[in-house]
């Protein structure tokens, strides 16, 4: 239907004239035939009306229909009204016949062309809807960006009857591997081919950036949430000559394409992050199994070197070497424990089994573990007057304290001093590890708790800086709903590490279980506060 209608719409004027003349001629011939057969005059009038109708149906627009109305009237007058073969009218009733014939023919030809126009529009709408539907279907099946763009290109080529081209935007930027860049190049070449068919000279892809200089090419950016996904290039004259419907199709196509590209982008991102997560998991499980296997031999090394360092038959140098092995093995063990905790944190497996633990016990455990670190005699501990019960996993808090203490011992001189304290403030337990060592560079300060961050300036003394310990501290503090921070004390007086662990709101039943000493402590501490 659409094909016939559009054919009619697009036929040349000469054809229309021929059709008009032919229908008129056919009416004249039919009229003579009817006359010979002795049919009444009215049948001839109907025949002419029919010829006008046919002319209106098979020619474009309303113009030829109207002309054929007059033509029919003239011919009827000339051939079939007395006096014959003149344009004279003798019988006044013939005038009435003319008028009625012309009106009938005129109205019907107008109606016909209206019907024709609306049928054409309906057919085009239908075609547009079908195009969009097919596009949406095929875009849904497409999985790659190139596929999406080629489908969109095909649709636009067909509906606009011209050649267009797309250029996809390289969204991943510099991270994109080389192969991608190559395919991009291919894309450009493809586009060149496509445009050269339109006899537009664009040899250099670099010119893409300034298509304004080429008046014949219009570019339409494909934008999604302010991200440029690609650009559509099409001959500019198309834009001007397009009908509303074609514009609608084009916009619909572009919208669908953008949606598809968007979805494609999101999918790629998701796949990438899934892959990343998988490789992260693989890495951390590898790290964990290695660390796990390191534990036992390390215990063996430590044990054997301990025995050696207490042997009576070794020289002083040998004893010192054995003690060195012992210390290093101990350091390695702490490192292995840290790695194990880190892998747990990274896998989101750091399960925190909270218990109410007095701060006393936490510092006690940290102090007794710290005793194995050379230089631990420089550490002093300070408890608050009040017993603070902290909801926490004691092993993790002790590991965090141990990391901070070991870190402070490493970064202070042999005469340096480290102070570890805990106090209650605003329903939080605040642990402080303060040393009087050198200040931390201001550029290092914000990165201190990042994984594997050591120092911007690699100094010779940072021999044991894995940057692991502090990132674990951060993970542990956050796991308890707390926070950790480091700051330099004013006047280069040292560095303070501070972490907060929130305390639960004390329930009334707890106070019943409190001992007298506790109450006394409370009293004394409240007195202190008042004083």
């Amino acid at each position: 239907m659409l094909k016939i209608l559009t054919k009619i719409q697009n036929q040349k004027s000469i054809w229309c004239v021929l059709i008009m003349l032919a229908s008129a001629a056919a009416a004249v011939v039919g009229g003579f035939l009817f006359q010979k057969l002795g049919f009444p005059e009215t049948t001839i009038v109907l025949l002419f009306t029919l010829s006008v109708l046919l002319c209106a149906v098979f020619t474009k627009g309303t113009r030829y229909g109207l002309i054929s109305v007059f033509l029919a009237a003239l011919l009827f007058n000339y051939f079939f009204t007395r006096p014959y073969y003149t344009l004279m009218v003798s019988d006044p009733s013939d005038w009435i016949i003319f008028a009625i014939m012309m009106f009938t023919a005129w109205i019907s030809s107008m109606l016909v062309s209206l019907v024709k126009q609306s049928a054409l529009n309906a057919a085009r709408q239908e075609e547009a809807v079908r195009t969009m539907y097919e596009l949406a279907c095929s875009l849904n099946k497409a999985s790659r960006k190139e596929e999406i763009l080629s489908i969109a290109k095909k649709t636009l080529d067909e509906s606009l009857h011209t050649k267009v081209s797309f250029e996809k935007e390289d969204l991943s930027g510099a991270e994109q591997p080389e192969s991608e860049a190559c395919s991009d190049q291919n894309q450009n070449q493809k586009k060149n081919k496509g445009l050269s068919a339109d006899s537009i000279q664009r040899q250099n892809p670099a010119e893409n950036t300034s298509p304004n200089s080429k008046a014949s090419v219009a570019q339409i950016p494909l934008l999604s949430k302010n991200t440029l996904l690609g650009t559509l290039y099409l001959p500019e004259n198309i834009l001007e000559s397009e009908s509303e419907l074609q514009k609608e199709i084009m916009h619909g196509t572009l919208e669908n394409t953008i949606l598809a590209l968007d979805r494609n982008l999101a999918m790629e991102k998701q796949m990438k992050s899934e892959e990343q997560a998988r490789s992260e998991q693989f890495k951390s499980s590898l790290l964990r199994s290695i660390s796990h296997d390191l534990r036992t031999p390390l215990a063996g090394i430590e044990g054997a070197s301990y025995i050696l360092s207490h042997s009576k038959s070794l020289s002083q140098n040998e004893l010192e070497a054995a003690r060195g092995i012992c210390e290093e093995a101990d350091w390695l063990q702490r490192m292995v424990e840290n790695i194990l905790s880190l892998t747990k944190v990274q896998e989101g497996k750091l399960e925190i089994k909270k218990e109410m633990i007095p701060a006393d016990e936490l510092l006690e455990a940290a102090a007794s573990k710290a005793e194995r670190i050379p230089g631990s005699q420089r550490v002093s501990y300070q408890l608050s007057d009040e017993v603070i019960l902290i909801p926490c996993d004691p092993n993790l808090i002790v590991q965090m304290l141990l990391n901070l203490i070991a870190n402070s011992i490493e970064h202070t001189s042999k005469n340096g001093h480290i102070r570890v304290s805990v106090e209650k403030e605003n329903n939080q337990a605040i642990f402080r590890v303060v040393n009087d060592g050198t200040s931390i560079d201001s550029e290092d300060l914000p990165h201190l708790f990042e994984t594997f961050y050591t120092k911007a300036s690699h100094k010779a003394d940072s021999k044991k800086g894995t940057g692991l310990g502090l990132s674990i501290c951060k993970a542990i503090a956050q796991g308890h709903g707390g926070s950790i921070e480091a700051r330099n004390l004013p006047d280069q007086k040292g560095v303070e590490f501070l972490f907060r662990i929130p305390l639960k709101q004390e329930e009334p039943s707890d106070s019943e279980m409190r001992t007298e000493s506790e109450e006394k402590n409370d009293k004394s501490s409240s007195e202190n506060r008042q004083g």
Partner: protein, 247 residues
């Protein structure tokens, strides 16, 4: 730092030569087993080695040991089963050896009658200290502890009068604190799990209410210790329980 340890080691070694307790090592890891063997040989202890549950049972049946070092993770079963079985007929002290992330098993073993525990990796000093504690316990068991007072360092408990003296001065304890300290003193040297202490002090209904016990313990320690961080008397065994040091 290490010299006092050495001195006591030598004293113990002398003691060992006279007593010669037989020690059974139940351990499947050859490295750890070698390490323990070496230490025991140095200290002059006779020992048997079992690499699995079956071997351990055979060894105990053939020649009962006076003291057992028991690894919990064995290739042919759980060390805890072995512990349950021998507790039916043997009072030999059992020192459990476990990996660092086996707190729960450790506590279970202690509640089932193990006397002490060691966490891998452990130092020779730790192992020998545990063996010393276990041996003293063994001798005390034999001598039957019916004394009416308990004395260690500068802490003195008079059971009859329910009074506690620190450096000769009477200190005031709440009734619950006194019961806790007395309980610890009667098991001096041994690790008491939080669960055991709660059962004894509050009754089994309190179950997992560790908070009250910890609060009570913190209060008690502040009364008898100069510093809770470097305690002289009651030491925390993180994740397991408490131990009153008997030396």
């Amino acid at each position: 730092m290490t010299s006092p340890v050495q001195k006591t080691d030598r004293v113990e070694a002398k003691m060992a030569k006279e007593q010669k307790e037989r020690i059974l090592i139940v351990e499947d890891d050859p490295q750890i087993a070698n390490f323990i063997k070496y230490l025991l040989r140095q200290e002059g202890f006779p020992y048997d080695l079992a690499a699995g549950l079956k071997e351990a049972k055979e060894a105990m049946a053939y020649r009962p040991a006076d003291l057992i070092l028991l690894d919990l993770g064995l290739p042919d079963g759980d060390g805890i089963d072995f512990l349950k079985e021998i507790r039916n007929w043997s009072e030999a002290p059992v020192i459990v050896i476990s990996a660092r992330d086996q707190d729960a098993q450790k506590v279970q073993a202690l509640d089932l009658g193990a006397d002490d525990y060691l966490t891998k990796p452990f130092s020779p000093a730790e192992l020998m200290a545990r063996i010393r504690v276990a041996r003293r316990h063994l001798h005390k068991l034999n001598a039957l502890n019916t004394k009416s007072t308990f004395e260690i360092k500068e802490l003195k408990i008079d059971y009859a009068r329910r009074e506690v003296f620190l450096k000769g001065k009477l200190i005031h304890l709440s009734p619950l604190e006194y019961r806790l300290l007395a309980l610890m003193a009667q098991n001096a040297g041994k690790v008491l799990t939080t669960r055991y202490l709660i059962d004894q002090l509050y009754g089994p209904a309190y179950g997992d209410d560790t908070q009250s016990l910890r609060q009570l313990m913190a209060g008690l320690r502040r009364k008898i210790e100069d510093s809770s961080i470097h305690p002289e008397y009651i030491k925390t065994e993180t994740g397991v329980g408490y131990r009153l040091l008997d030396q």
